[in-house]
Each structure stands twice: as C-alpha cells, then as structure tokens.
Amino acid sequence: MSDNALWIILQKLRTPLLVIIVTYSIAILGMVLIPGMDDNGNVYHLTFFDAFYFVSYMASTIGFGEAPYTFTYEQRLWVSVCIYITVVGWFYGIGALVSAVTDKTLKFEMMRSKFRKRVQSIKDDFVIILGYTYVNAEIIKKLHAVNMEVVLIDTNEEKINHFLLEDFSHDVPLMVGNALLADTLSDAGILQSNCKAIVSLFKNEEKNLRISILTRFLNPKVKVVAKSTFSDITKSIIDTDIAKAINPFEIFAKRVDIALQSPHVLILENWIYENSDLMNQAMFLPKGKYIVCGYGRFGKLLQEKFEKHNLEAIFIDEKRLASREMIESGRFIRANPDDKEVLLEAGIEEAVGLIIGTQNDIDNLSIMITARKLNPEIYIIARENTMQEVSIFQAANIDWVFMFEKILINKVSLSLSKPLKNRFLKLILNKDEEWAAKLVKLLRNRIGANPKLMTLKISEEESYAIYHELLEGNEVSIDVLSHSLSDWQKNNAVVPLLIHRKNEEILLPKNRMLQVDDRILFACDEYSKEEIELIASNIYEFYYALCGKEKESPILKKIFG
C-alpha cells in the first residue's frame, strides 16, 4: 500500500476528530435552544446556521463578537461553558495533527514510499548495496564511473545522514531499513528486472548468508556478492547457486602464493585493477623461512600456501591456539609478537620474510620496527587496517602493504562493473610464470607501459558492420579488428586478450572466427581503441580493414551500374 502515510494520519486523528464533532454539536445545540433577545426586546432563537457560524469562530478563538444580536446573560452563561469545551477540543485536534505529522512511523512511511518511487524510476541496470561503509562508498564510486546505478540500504539513520554529505556523481536512492527483511529488499527493487546484483559485505557473515538465501527465493536472477571468510558459511552461500562468496583473506593468500611462483601474473593483476602499470619489476618472494604474526583465518590460509611450497613458517599469536603438534614442533608460539624476545625465539635473524597481519595498526608498525632492527634484510609484508588519507604505512618503508578493505573494493567493483575483465583475471591467475612473462613482454612491446582495456560485444548496437557481415553468413576473423585504417597491412597496437562466448572462453585468440554475441576484451592504446570501434561499426571502414579496397556504396553502384 503506497498510501500508508495517509492512513497513519487518519488513524491518529480519530479521537481528536470525534472530540471536535461532539463538542461542536453540543455547543451548537445549546446555542439554538437557549432563547435570546433582539434589539426590540422580542424573544428569538438562533438558527442552526447562526449557531454554527458563532461556534466556528469562537472555537478557533477568532472571536468576531456576539451575533446577530448582543447575547442575554443566559446565552453568555452557555457560551462560557462552550468556550472551554470547544477551544480545548480544537487545540487538542491541532496538537494531534502536528504530532502525527512529525511522528517517526509516519516519517518512515513517507521516506519509504519516496524511496520506492525513486527505485522504480531507475531505467538502467542497478545494484543494491547493503550498509554504508568506507568500502561500499568506494564501490559505489567505481560503479558510477561505468554508469551503473546504485541503491543503498542501511539500518542506521545517522550513517545515512553522513552519506548525504558525500559527493557522488549519480543520485543514490537510500533508505533506513533492515536489509534482512524481504519487504525492505523488495522496496529496494530486488524484484525488478533491471536489478543486476546485490552486494552484502557485512562483518557478521551470517547476515551475508541470509541475504543470499533471501535473494535466491525473491529473484534468482539477481547476482549476490557476499563476503565470507568462514568455510561453512562460504559453502552455504555457494550452494544458493546465485551467490558469489568473496573471501579477502583467501584472495590475499593466493597473491602470496602467486608471488612465490609467478610474479608476472601479479603484475598483470595489478595492471587489471589499475593499481600500477606493467613496468614494475617482477619480484619473486624470497624462498626460506617465514614468520607470520596472527594465526586466525588469514594465518591458516597462509599456512596452506607455505606448505604447498614446502617453506618453513612460524606463527605467533597471543590469543589463539594451534594444534598440539604445531606447538611441539615449534611452529607456533603463543605470545605477543610485539616483543623482541619472542621474535628472536621465532628465529627472526635467519628468516627471509615476515608477514604482519594483526588487526591493530600500531601493533603492526611496532612489530615492523622491532623486526627491522633485528634483521634489516628481512622482507616485510604488513597489513593496514584503517583507511586514512595519509597512510603511515606508505611512508614506513614496508616492502608490501596490503589492506583487506582495498582488496574487497577492487574485487567487488571489478566483478560487478567489468565482468569480462574479471573473467580474464580469473583465467590468468592459474597460469604459470613463463606464460605471464611472455604476455607482459608482448603488451609492453606492442602497446606500452600502461595499455588500456576495452570490451566489444558483437551485437547490432555495438558493432553494426561485423554483426551484419556475420548474419550474411561470411566469416570474420578477430585479426581484422587490429588492422590499421591508414594501411590495412599494418597492425595497430592491439592485443586481443579474451573471447567470451556462451560455452567457450578463448585466451589470447589469434586468427579466430567471430560469432554473434561474442564479447571480446582487448588491450590497446587510446588511438587503436577508436579504430577498433570504427572498424566494428562502420561498413566502409570494415571493408577496407578486411581487404584493403574501398567499398563502393550500394546506392551509387546501382545508379552508375
């Protein structure tokens, strides 16, 4: 019901309205019944209209005087009674109206119906984001950059007020509400066909699971992106079939794993996330003994990776406990890592790497300083917890700083806004060092330090020329798109990275035939990007790129034969 607000007002005003009606009718009836006296001393009775008129202006304290003739004392006696009953009734009514309008439930209902209207008026694809946090705000900015709309829900009104102060390029419909209720989600437009995804990154991961299940039943076409670091919750989330569980610990542990065996993959990953360009030196993590501060979920994931590479790793944690076997073999020390003695006991002097992953920034920095004193050569990987504009970590000469919030932001926004890039990233993460090094070299040589990424879909709107050529039954190779328009035998600075079609994915396609509905990811420079778009959509440019001849206009051909 969209007119909830009106009903709430009416319901609140029931008693005051009754009071006003009753007091008015008593006053009017009395005025009519009590005899008055006109100017000539004749007895007369007020008519109902006279009485209604008089009581109306008396009750609202306007008070035009006694009409139509001066009242007798009997009438005045009654009027003094009426004043108290009607004026009180009237003010009670006004007071109730004001308090009903400022009522919290009413405000909420009004906000809700406004929110619903705004969500319904969204025409483009949109994403529902739950909770206003730093991470989500960054995700919103990245989604806006690719023209995706965002709807935001938070339970906390104060946070929503903070949100209003932020500067976003698009209008964001927002609501105070509990996202775990199906009603709230449907208000946020989860049932609409242009709702593409819902982002649930609550700290309390059971909430993320509940959101996934709710969405599964409300609208299984909506993709859920949920944060999950516990394996049982992750399993349940994945079991909903529509949800994707994102575990920042796992992502970073995987990066450490990659850095140990194929650092060029890491360079490609950073380039795709637009964190840095391809010129960075590929650095293998040193092989040897590692010390890890913190043995929570993250520590355990790291342990798996180190075991995979047969590297020795010693874990230090003050609060958590490891298995007896680990303690007995000296691979776990239960102590505060921010202590010289403890670090020495763990063997900091002969260790090659130190991973500091506690949840306290100051602790992390302090461990780092102690460790550097004991072993100046050690490779330090440190976790930064709080987002700040001026980061001490950047200034602290740490070899590798990581932040789970940033990982979440990058991962979520990439998978929502640039699905093809995300696909490509997923495929290359499993490639080996040789493959990645070759690709980095190829990209650097052909395009430059920081190639752009562009996507192209073979469809009527995005690539008219190719689409129609394919419809006519002709074959088109992907290589046509990299031809230069000034000389078709030369190639532009283009590297096709991926063709994605219904049941096939082709990495680094060469001389492959295109199909309708293919989506292609290119690495290219700004200039070639324009040429690719021209070739794909303009039939004359396409013809030239295909065979090096100018295509004759079909109309002119007809005229001149």
């Binding site: 005003l13 009754l18 009836l29 109902f48």
Partner: protein, 125 residues
C-alpha cells in the same frame, strides 16, 4: 463483549434510525420534518464516519465509503435548508430537494448497516 464494537454499532444504527426519523413524512409538508432531527442526523453520521476510519480491510473501505456518501448527502441537505431560509425563498421544490437528499443519505446508511450486520454474522467470535 467488546465495548468498542458496542459503541460503533450503536452509532452506525443510530445514524440510520435518526436519518429515517427525519425522512419519514410527506415530502411537501415542512411541518412533518424537524430541523433538530436533521442536525442530530448529520452529527451522528459524522461521528460514525470517524469511527469507520482506520480499518484498512476491503469491507472497512466500503463501510467508510457509504458513510462518506451519507455525510455528503446530509451536508447538501443542510446547505440547501440554510440557503432557502436566509434568502427567504419559500419554495416547496427546495424543501422536496432537502427531503430527497436525506432519503439518499438514508439509503447509504441502510447499505452501511447491512454490510455491518453481514460482517458481524460472518465473524466467528
């Protein structure tokens, strides 16, 4: 027994009976129709309208609608009465209009009472 039900039932039926009391009598004979009765009919009708507010069910909505119809008919009757009296038009046609307007209100009130009785019979408590 629910006191609220007693009160609202009382007013719904009172609105109908008083309305009937005013309406009953020759349509062209002003002496048979008391202005006090019209006044009370209007007041009671307004009260029963307010009592019907706030019920969001389908039946509640129809009840409210019938009550609003009765209000409008009665207010129209009162207005016509006031105008004829103050403009000193002694016109049997205008008086007949007042009575027939209140007759319309009576029909609306009867509908509303029938609906109310129907709901009461259907209720299992």
């Amino acid at each position: 027994m629910n006191l609220q039900k007693v009160v609202s039932g009382f007013f719904f039926i009172l609105a109908m009976t008083i309305n009937f009391g005013f309406f009953y009598g020759d349509i062209d004979n002003p002496e048979l129709h008391s202005v006090y009765e019209l006044f009370v009919a209007l007041v009671v009708s307004l009260i029963s309208t307010v009592l019907k507010i706030g019920d969001k069910t389908q039946l509640g909505a129809v009840l409210l609608a019938t009550s609003l119809v009765a209000d409008i008919q009665l207010i129209a009757a009162v207005t016509v009465w006031t105008i004829t009296e103050y403009l000193s038009i002694v016109d049997i046609e205008a008086f007949a209009a007042i009575i027939s307007l209140s007759g319309g209100a009576l029909l609306a009130n009867i509908t509303s009472v029938i609906l109310y009785i129907g709901e009461t019979l259907k209720s299992k408590r």
